[in-house]
Symmetry: C2
Subunit: 316 residues, 2 copies
């Protein structure tokens, strides 16, 4: 949580002059997201987030992310619509960084979701899947099965440093995933990172879905299990909270019913979701330079989820 690149008030006023948005009223660097610099900007007409993309976001993918959120906003989803400047451009440069000005959305991220909030998150994800089906762009998931296979092997020593025996558990999970990954389930635009941090809510209502920088084309039911892994576990990280799970799945299926094949695949897809975050967090855990602004997130709760999903699959 940090502002990596600072933008002077003077530079900001010059930047805003390119847009039909009125005059600057205030701007504050905000502690949001882990990779990019974000400013909350208010003008005499509206409120915006200015994002400066730091090195970790692939600049070549920005047009995909911006077109996608514009498309979803047009479809009525509560996503941060990019603001086009007077010449129609969405992607800019500010302080030497690629940058975009997007609509500000109200709401707060919950830390301890209630079942009603989990249901609303499930329904919002289903709406995103349905709305995204008309989007013409595509982006293969750079952090899908192939990435897990590469990184599961490469990170084996790191995994065993985290917890002795974890590398073997990951290898077993990878074998199952490689043998049984369902290629023929319904697929399309997915978010793949819809943690509570990335859902803004007022009470039980979803007011914003944000941070589309992992959005790609993949299985809808995999995205649902990322949501499940992010929302439905007790604080110990390895026990599903039944009320949250029931609410989240019902919320989703109430908008986009799951096929029988999708339902049967959920434990395997959950294994994939747990593995994805276990591996990326393990990588960040050992890669973060001393003194980094951002504290790396603990990978171990996702090791516990991995075990929980494997257990469910064995029991199914």
């Amino acid at each position: 949580m940090a502002v990596y690149t600072s933008v002077s008030a003077e530079a900001l006023a010059r930047f805003l002059a390119r847009f039909p948005v009125g005059d600057l009223v205030f701007a504050k660097g905000i502690a949001e997201g882990v990779s990019n610099s974000n400013y909350l900007v208010e003008t005499t007409e509206a409120r915006f987030i200015l994002t400066l993309y730091e090195a970790r976001t692939e600049a070549a993918d920005l047009p995909f992310f911006l077109s996608l959120t514009e498309f979803l906003a047009e479809a009525g989803l509560p996503v941060p619509r990019p603001v086009r400047d007077r010449s129609g451009r969405m992607l800019h440069a500010v302080a030497g960084r690629p940058a975009a000005l997007v609509q500000f959305l109200p709401g707060v991220s919950v830390s301890e979701p209630t079942p009603a909030q989990a249901a609303a998150a499930g329904a919002a994800l289903a709406r995103l899947h349905l709305a995204g089906s008309g989007f013409p762009g595509a982006r293969p998931n750079p952090m899908g099965l192939g990435w897990w296979q590469d990184h599961g092997a490469a990170l084996a020593p790191a995994l065993d440093r985290l917890a002795p025996g974890l590398a073997a558990e990951v290898a077993t999970a990878l074998e199952r995933l490689s043998a049984h990954w369902p290629a023929d389930l319904p697929a399309g635009i997915v978010h793949t990172d819809l943690f509570p941090d990335n859902v803004l809510m007022l009470g039980d209502r979803v007011t914003g879905l944000i941070d589309f920088y992992f959005a790609c084309t993949d299985l809808y039911a995999y995205d649902l299990m990322v949501l499940h892994a992010a929302w439905c576990f007790a604080p110990d990280g390895g026990t599903v909270a039944p009320a949250l799970e029931a609410a989240l799945l019902a919320g989703y299926a109430g908008v986009r019913p799951l096929t029988r094949t999708e339902r049967a695949a959920l434990p395997l897809l959950g294994t994939g979701a747990a593995l994805r975050f276990l591996l990326s967090r393990t990588q960040d855990w050992f890669d973060s330079p001393a003194g980094a602004f951002v504290s790396p997130k603990d990978p171990l709760p996702f090791a516990r989820r991995l075990a929980a999903y494997a257990h469910r699959r064995a029991a199914a």
Copy 2:
């Protein structure tokens, strides 16, 4: 610039329920100030800053700072008024930290002040001095001459590591300041940290004076020279920008005319102001732990100001 202590949306909603301020609409950790954690909070009724005081702010002084800003706000100054809860309290505890909810003020901090902006800052400081004269509280300046004397000696090796010969320049300045510090100039409530960062502006208008955590009782003309040191130097740090200086002094004196004795003392008081920031920045420069959230500020521009004020005094 960081948020050191995180507050969950749930904890924040519970905290806000103590105040007659409506329901939470959004909250964002903001990168403001260097010592405390700040959240921009909007409710259905108004906008606020929630500050959590970290270790560096002396908890015993918080009632002074909060009473002072409430007093100044009552007097019509654009300062962040603390919000009292339903039982009348201004000082609270949030996430284990002392905390206060204060009024949000619009505006941005300029990086390259214009003469009109410097004049407005000067006038705002003079208004603060006049308004503060009715405040019943007092707080000796903990970073005045006695602190400079103690730390000037203790930091001598560090000063010479920054720039060979700097410790001797500081010793010479300290001798002059100790011998000639004017004890009998008009004194009262002063800010002592009114850098452009702590002044919010819209165009040429001051919309906020913030960060009163160095406020104390000291010479008005010393506070004016802190403002001068902070606003009137060219980017090299050692050359006064004549247009900014003329505007700032005229802005101040238009509201609170300076006595002849105050005017004569300005170069000496400027030496003190430059020394104060040279010493505190030198301390932070060598004390900041590796990996601190906040990058320490370069002390050397204040070494250059010290030389500039000493030269002026010699020339006067």
